[in-house]
């Protein structure tokens, strides 16, 4: 299972990398979003999968799955949301001000 997830992570990051190399700002933002998905899955897979019950002591199980990666991912999800939201609004404002969503055309438009 872990290996399968890692291969999935590889595919997702390939897609994310290709999108990040694009010149369209929305594709770049999509790239960052997908890359964070890939990273989350990767962290989870590294901790080992399905080898115990959910990390709730109330379950009174023999073993629990590793709780540490989950805590890390929880933080990462929130942060990546914040970043995505911010750059989306940035893209929106940039388009309003500059009239383009092409990073190449945005380059060097300093109004200073």
């Amino acid at each position: 299972m872990e290996s399968l997830i890692i291969i999935l992570v590889g595919v997702l990051s390939t897609v994310a990398f290709y999108l990040l190399l694009s010149r369209n700002i929305v594709r770049v933002i999509l790239g960052t979003a997908i890359l964070s998905h890939a990273a989350h899955l990767m962290i989870l897979a590294m901790g080992g999968l399905k080898i115990g019950s959910a990390p709730l002591l109330g379950e009174e199980a023999e073993t629990y799955v590793d709780a540490l990666p989950q805590a890390l991912i929880l933080t990462a999800i929130v942060i990546s949301f914040a970043v995505t939201a911010f750059i989306l609004v940035l893209a929106y404002r940039a388009y309003q001000e500059l009239g383009t969503d092409d990073l190449e055309e945005m380059r060097g438009t300093d109004n200073e």
Partner: protein, 800 residues
């Protein structure tokens, strides 16, 4: 006794306090307070003379970084004491002089803070026994010199000179540092005394010569030896008290000090002997040759300083042979050269300090230092004239002045070096006294130029409008004291010799008896040295009088073929190269930056993976795969790949949503209920946000990328994905480290929480979570500001 270390720290302390005190004392000149520090320190060091003259040394030690063998060891022996007395003695005179020299518009606190910084650093250099501590203080002297040269930083030349001196001396400092590390690798100690004791059997070591040359590089750059001398004339942009102090009396002698200090370590080898002797003699001659053609008095003094430093350096080179011959007659004869070097070191500080102060007075009172505009000042500035005569004639090596004594010794040493049989004699040995003599003729000429061109002849009243008068008495005290010393040392040289020079020499060359002369005599009878001096005066006078006729020889050197031109060329071309490299990758194109980042990641991580043989794939530890999970993975892969090919923004955004929701299903399957919930909420909000923005953003255009570039991007993306997959698989199939997660399973006992994930976030790693909240908050402010912000459109701004 910790007083020694305190004496190093006192100037630093005072430098830190100056800005605070300056504000409180109003109009009172802070220089008077500053003056107390070098005077106090001079008194302290002078009180150590009896201790040193009874052949004892003083060592105090404070642990600094004991685990690395770096201790703040202060060590006072004869050599250190000579330097310390020069630093504090000349320092006192210079501070006194500067009180009258600086104009009220100059920033006094800056000037004195830098000067004290330098004083402390220089004391640190000459008193440190630890190589690392020595290095730190060494670089501090470079920095304070930089600050002082650029004191009038509004002048372009000051900034140029400061940068030049810093680049050259710090370059040498780095080389020296590398040499120190090599020494440490050889001996295993950072103490200079212990290194000297351990060096005897190390001449065969592979690092012996690299270490020697690197350390010499440090000494030669600092002491402005050929061809690194070019920074010193430009350093003359500093205020004249600084030039007198740093760039003639003390800082440039740090290189001399270093060579003397390392003579017991490297001395006795022919490489050390010839390198230092030849570099010193070339510097001696070239400096004197260049000095003659200068028209700026300060530039003339700068080249003369270079020349005199070369003289001392060559003496140290010749003297190092004493260690080869050991306690024999030959050893004693060579040892005399080191005695002469130490003697001339002191003498040079006296007469050059006096001359710089004289030039400062001329500049201050007349308003120019240009020899072509000066003349006839003797009648107007009789006192200054007296000092100039004493200083110049001493520099020229004329009798009744201390320069005569050390100059004669220099000739003796060079004649000895030429005539001695043995390892170091070659058929070229006779060149040493010849070059020494020729350079001394040139020295005589420029010394005469200072006196006769400035003070005699006709006063050009058109060139210099204001009628100069003698400066305030305070400005005359310092050169007066130095002039008295110049004369006094001629009549009572043995006072200095017996109490300082002999102990210093004996400590440098232990076991070589008879190296220092019984006493210093002015009259040796009619011998070669005296004839050489007479020859210098005769031929020098003739050449000085006929100077206008033969000065065409300076035009032989083609313009542009100078070390300065080389330095400027190297500076501009390295700046251009740096800016070319920067511009070639700082293009402002985001996708290019990402390309570099990804390429670096692929090469470094992928390369490490392959080279370190870490690649291993096994599925043994894997959990079983159920059919739902397999289907979900296939769905995600297909969705992800179709994002790449879709033309419609809407489907791309929705497909991203599919990926996010699938992941939350995975979180459910992998027993992570908190994650699943969070992911579900966040994905919904993100998709909504995407759709909201989508409404305002334009339709996607086809990217106008050539096929080749697309293929390149795709190749790199696939390589990146592959590296991640392979790394992940390799990590998965090996248990390198024990998991730390067991600790968190005690969450109920430790944090009172049943939900382990929540306990980690809210308790174990609560600070992380708080900062995460901060990030969210900042992003929220950013979003709010971006939406509400109304940029003022400038009229006529380009862009539509």
């Amino acid at each position: 006794m910790q007083l020694l270390i305190l004496s190093i720290l006192l100037p630093f302390l005072a430098a830190a306090l100056i800005p605070l005190i300056h504000r409180r004392i109003g109009n009172f000149n802070i220089g008077w307070l500053v003056l107390s520090i070098p005077v106090l320190l001079f008194g302290f060091f002078a009180s150590q003379i009896p201790m040193v003259s009874s052949r004892e040394t003083l060592l105090t030690s404070v642990e600094w970084i004991p685990s690395l063998g770096i201790n703040f060891n202060a060590y006072l022996d004869g050599l250190s004491l000579i330097m310390a007395l020069l630093i504090t003695g000349v320092g006192s005179l210079v501070v006194l002089y500067s009180i009258y020299y600086l104009s009220p518009t100059d920033s006094f606190p800056h000037f004195y803070a830098y000067l004290l910084l330098f004083m402390g650093a220089m004391l640190g250099v000459v008193l440190s026994d630890n190589l690392m501590v020595l290095y730190v203080f060494w670089e501090l002297t470079s920095i304070s010199s930089f600050l002082l040269i650029a004191f009038w930083y509004h002048r372009k030349n000051s900034r140029y000179g400061a940068q030049k001196s810093l680049l050259i001396t710090v370059f040498g400092g780095f080389a020296m540092f590398a040499g120190f590390l090599m020494l440490y690798a050889m001996t295993g100690t950072l103490s200079i005394r212990e290194t000297a004791a351990a060096m005897g059997q190390l001449t065969e070591h592979a690092l012996f010569y690299p270490a020697m040359f690197l350390i010499l590089l440090g000494a030669f750059t600092k002491s402005a030896q050929f061809p690194f001398h070019i920074w010193l004339p430009d350093a003359m942009e500093a205020p004249t008290p600084v030039s007198a102090y740093l760039h003639s009396a003390t800082m440039v002698k740090a290189g001399i000090y270093l060579v003397a200090r390392f003579t017991p370590i490297f001395g006795g080898t022919s490489a050390w002997f010839w390198t230092i002797t030849i570099v010193g003699l070339v510097t001696l001659f070239w400096g004197a040759f260049c000095a003659i053609r200068q028209t700026d008095l300060k530039a003339l003094l700068a080249y003369s300083t270079i020349s005199q430093l070369g003289l001392i350096m060559s003496l140290l080179g010749m003297g190092s042979a004493a260690l080869h011959y050991g306690n024999t007659e030959a050893g004693a004869l060579y040892g005399l050269a080191i005695f002469a070097a130490l003697f001339h070191l002191v003498n040079h500080s006296t007469f050059k300090g006096a001359l710089f102060m004289v030039v400062g007075i001329i500049d201050h009172q007349v308003g120019t230092r240009d020899i072509r505009r000066l003349g006839g000042l003797m009648a107007l500035l009789p006192v200054t004239f007296t000092f100039a005569v004493i200083g110049s004639f001493s520099m020229a090596g004329l009798p009744l002045l201390n320069g005569f004594l050390s100059k004669e010794m220099f000739f003796t040493a060079s004649l000895n070096a030429a005539s001695m049989p043995g390892l170091f004699s070659t058929s070229w040995g006779w060149l040493i006294p010849v070059i020494a003599w020729l350079a001394s003729v040139l020295t005589f000429i420029y010394a005469m130029i200072i006196v006769f061109r400035t003070f005699l002849g006709n006063r050009d009243s058109k060139a210099v409008e204001k009628r100069p008068v003698e400066p305030p008495i305070g400005m005359l005290i310092s050169p007066a004291i130095l002039s008295i010393l110049i004369v006094g040392l001629f009549f009572a040289p043995n006072l200095l010799g017996d109490h300082l020079l002999k102990p210093a020499l004996e400590q440098l060359l232990p076991g070589i008896s008879g190296a220092s002369p019984d006493s210093i005599y002015a009259w040796h009878g009619v011998n070669t040295e005296l004839l050489m001096t007479i020859g210098i005066v005769l031929i020098g006078s003739v050449l000085f009088i006929t100077f206008d006729r033969w000065k065409v020889i300076f035009k032989i050197q083609p313009a542009g073929w100078t070390f300065n031109a080389l330095y400027n060329y190297a500076l501009t071309s390295s700046e251009n190269a740096a800016s070319f490299v920067t511009r070639s990758y700082m293009t402002g194109r985001l996708h290019q930056y990402f390309f570099y980042i990804l390429l670096f990641f692929v090469v470094s991580t992928g390369g490490t993976l392959l080279l370190s043989d870490a690649l291993s794939i096994s599925f043994v530890q894997d959990a079983p795969i159920s059919i739902y999970e397999l289907m979900l993975v296939i769905v995600m892969i297909i969705t992800a790949i179709s994002i790449l090919f879709t033309r419609s923004r809407l489907s791309a955004i929705l497909m991203n949503g599919v990926l996010g929701y699938s992941i939350s299903i995975f979180f459910v399957l992998f027993r992570a209920p908190d994650l699943a919930l969070t992911q579900l909420v966040i994905e919904t909000v993100t998709t909504a946000l995407f759709l909201l923005c989508f409404n305002y953003l334009p339709e996607w255009k086809r990217e106008p990328l050539p096929k080749r570039k697309k293929a390149r991007n795709a190749g790199l993306a696939i390589a990146g994905g592959l590296v991640i997959t392979l790394t992940g698989l390799s990590v998965n199939s090996a248990d390198l480290f024990e998991t730390i997660s067991g600790y968190f399973q005690n969450s109920y006992e430790l944090a009172g929480g049943q939900n382990i994930v929540n306990s980690i976030l809210g308790d174990f790693r609560a600070l992380d979570t708080m900062l995460e909240g901060l990030v969210l908050f900042i992003a929220g402010i950013g979003v709010y500001t971006l939406i509400r912000l109304k940029l003022k459109k400038e009229a006529g701004a380009d862009g539509d």
